[in-house]
Symmetry: C2
Subunit: 365 residues, 2 copies
C-alpha cells in the first residue's frame, strides 16, 4: 500500500471520525481507523460496533492495500504536521509517513482484525436536504430518554408515510415531533428507531456538509449517505409508543409569548428552584401577562412576561429544563403555549407552524 | 441598605469575583460576596482567605449598609435578568431585588461573619503599565512549581531594584525571568514571592483592563491596585533561590530558529514520546538544520527545521513540554537557543532581547 494525499483532507476526515473511535481494553482495535484504497481514493473507517463511519479522501494511489492505524496518534501527527502533502507507505504493518519536514513511523495492526461495517445495498430509500435533516434532528433529539430502562425510548423514531418523514423523540415526560415534507415520496413506508448516540454523531458529522442525504433502511440497519461519507448504524428493536393519541386536540388557555422572554423566565426559575426544578406558570388574562414563579432554599423569583392570551386564564407547573430545552431549539421568535388543565399535558409550538410540536407533562405544583 | 445600579456593571463585577469565591463546607460564607456601600459606590468583595478582591460599582445609594449574598445564585440572577437596572434592598438579612420584569428575594448572611480583607495603607510602591505586567506574568508563571514540596517555588518572585522589576518563576527544572523597566524607580527595593494562584487570578482580572497598576508591598501582603478594583494577597515566606548564578554566561552552539517551526517540532515530538516526554535536538551545522527526534511505543518521528547556526554543532535533550511552554508565550517570530553541553542547561530567548530569558535543564537522552 502506497499513496499520497493532501494533509488538510486527512485532517478533516480524522476529525470527523475521531468521536466514533473508542478506547476499549477488551477490543483495542476499536481505537484504530481502517485505511484502505478504494477506487482511486483512500477510504477511512471507524466503528464502535453500534455504528460505523466511512469517509473517502482523494489520494494519488501507487499500490493498493489496507491497514489499521491508531487513530489518536495518527490524528495528532496529521494535525501537528505543517506540510501540504503526506506520503503513506505500509511495510509489514509498519506505516511510514513522509512529508517535506517530517519522517515518521507508526505501528499499525492488520486490517483483517478490524470489525466489518455492514454494507447496505438494498432497502427502502428516502432522500432529503441535509439542512432539513439537521433541523429536524436538533429539534427532537434532546427529548430522547437517557439510559436503558426503556430501550425504545433511548432512540429517535424515523417514520415515513408517503411524502412525510416524522422525526420523534420522547422520554415519557416530554415529546418532540418534527414533520419534514419529502420532495419525492419514499418507495415504501417505514418506522425505525435509531440510537440516540448515532443521531448525535450524525448531527455533528453533518456540521459543515451541504447537499442531500440519503436514508437507506434494511435488515435492522440504517445508512445515512452523503457525498464522500456514510454512516451505518444498527437500529433499536421494538415498537415505538403510539404517541399520536397523546397529542392534545384542544385547549382552554392559549398564550402567544416571545421565545426569548419565556426562556429568560425559565432560566431564572432554574436558578431559584435548583432543588425542585419547578417553574409555575400563571396566565393572567386580564393583564395579558404570563407570570412565572420559582422558589427554593436560596430565595425566590417572580418573572412577568407580556403575552397575548386566547381563551381563559389558567396555570401549569413544568420542569424548568423541559421548558428551556424546547425554547433553546425552537428557532421561532414567538411560540404558542396551549393548555387545558394543570394536570394535563401542555403543548408548545412555533406560531403558525404545525410541523413542530412539543408536549410537556406537568408536575405537581 | 438600599441602592440601585446598572445590571451590566454588576454582571462584570460578579464575573471578575467569581473565581475567588470558593465553596467550603467548613466556612460556607466564602461562597458569598460582601456587598457594602462605600463613598457613593457599591463595593463588592470576595476572598478565599489567601487572597481577596474588592471591586467597586457605580450605584445610586439611598441608605448605607452591608450584607453578604451567596455568589452563585446572585451571579446567575444578574446574568439571567434581562432588565437594565436592578434595585437592591436589605431587610433583616433578606435581600430584595427588583427590576422591570423580575421580583426576587435571596437569603443573605450577616456582613460581620465575612473574613476581613486586609487594607494595606503604607508600604513600598511600584507603578507600571497593566500591559507590561500582564506580559511579564504570562511569560513566567507557567514555570512555577505545582504542589507544596518547596513552598517558595510555588510562587512568582517580584524583585525590584532601582528602576528594574524582575519577575521570575522556576520549578527547579526550568526557569523564566522577565525584566521590566520601570518609568519611575521604586522608593525602595523589595523581593517578595506571590502565590501562583494569586498571579493566575491577577492575570485573569487584568484581562480587559488598561491603564496603570500599583503594587504595594507591606507586612507580608501585596496589593495590586487598579481603577475600581484591588487584589490583596498574602506573600509566601522564605528566601527565593539565588538563581542569577545559574544563568549560562557563554555558549558553544547558538541556533536562531523560527518559533513556530520549533513549536511544531516540539508538539510532534510530544505525540510520539508520550511515555518519555523527551525531545532530542541535534544541531547539524553543515546543513544549517535543527533535527528534532522522538520515539515511543506507538512509533517515531524526525522533524527537520531550517536554522542559522553559530559556533559548532551539538545536541541536547529536553522535556517536550518544557520546550513548548516557552515557545507558546515567547511572542517573538524567532528565538535563540544557546547551549554548551548536553548535560548543561540550555537557554532560550527572543532574538535581540535580553529582558526575557528561559533556562531548561536537559534530560538524559
Amino acid at each position: 500500500m502506497k499513496l499520497s494525499c493532501v494533509r488538510e483532507n486527512l485532517a478533516k476526515a480524522l476529525s470527523a471520525l475521531g468521536r466514533v473511535v473508542t478506547t476499549s481494553s477488551t477490543l483495542p482495535i476499536l481505537g484504530n481507523v481502517l485505511l484502505q484504497t478504494d477506487q482511486g481514493r483512500l477510504k477511512i473507517s471507524a466503528t464502535d460496533l453500534e455504528m460505523g463511519v466511512n469517509y473517502w479522501v482523494g489520494a494519488k494511489i501507487e499500490t493498493q492495500g489496507k491497514i489499521t492505524i491508531p487513530a489518536r496518534v495518527f490524528t495528532d501527527y496529521v494535525n501537528n504536521n505543517t506540510d501540504e502533502n503526506i506520503e503513506l507507505e505500509v511495510e509489514n504493518q509498519l506505516i511510514k509517513l513522509n512529508s517535506e519536514h517530517y519522517s515518521t513511523k507508526i505501528n499499525g495492526l492488520s486490517a483483517e482484525e478490524f470489525p466489518i461495517i455492514p454494507a447496505i445495498k438494498n432497502g427502502v430509500e428516502v432522500k432529503l436536504n441535509v439542512e432539513m435533516l439537521k433541523d429536524a434532528v436538533s429539534k427532537v433529539v434532546f427529548a430522547a430518554a437517557i439510559g436503558e430502562t426503556n430501550p425504545t425510548l433511548a432512540g429517535v423514531l424515523f417514520k415515513v408515510e408517503g411524502n412525510k418523514l416524522k422525526v420523534v423523540a420522547t422520554d415519557g415526560y416530554r415529546l418532540a415531533e418534527k414533520i419534514v415534507d419529502l420532495e419525492t415520496p419514499a418507495s415504501d413506508g417505514f418506522a425505525v428507531i435509531v440510537p440516540t448516540k448515532t443521531i448525535q454523531e450524525l448531527y455533528r458529522l453533518l456540521g459543515n456538509v451541504g447537499g442531500e442525504v440519503r436514508l437507506l433502511v434494511a435488515d435492522n440497519q440504517i445508512l445515512f449517505g452523503l457525498e464522500g461519507m456514510e454512516i451505518v448504524s444498527r437500529l433499536i428493536e421494538g415498537n415505538y409508543p403510539a404517541y399520536e393519541g397523546l397529542m392534545p386536540q384542544s385547549y382552554v388557555t392559549r398564550v402567544m409569548v416571545g421565545t426569548k422572554e419565556l426562556l429568560s423566565g425559565a432560566k431564572m426559575a432554574a436558578v431559584f428552584s435548583r432543588e425542585s426544578q419547578k417553574i409555575r406558570l400563571v396566565v393572567d388574562k386580564d393583564k395579558n401577562r404570563l407570570v412565572s414563579m420559582s422558589k427554593g432554599q436560596l430565595g425566590e423569583n417572580v418573572s412577568n412576561i407580556g403575552v397575548e392570551v386566547e381563551g381563559v386564564g389558567g396555570e401549569i407547573t413544568f420542569n424548568t429544563r423541559y421548558l428551556s430545552d424546547v425554547l433553546n431549539v425552537v428557532g421561532a421568535m414567538n411560540v404558542v403555549l396551549e393548555m387545558t388543565d394543570k394536570l394535563k399535558p401542555g403543548l408548545i409550538k412555533p406560531v403558525n407552524d404545525d410541523n413542530y410540536r412539543y408536549i410537556i407533562m406537568p408536575v405537581k405544583d
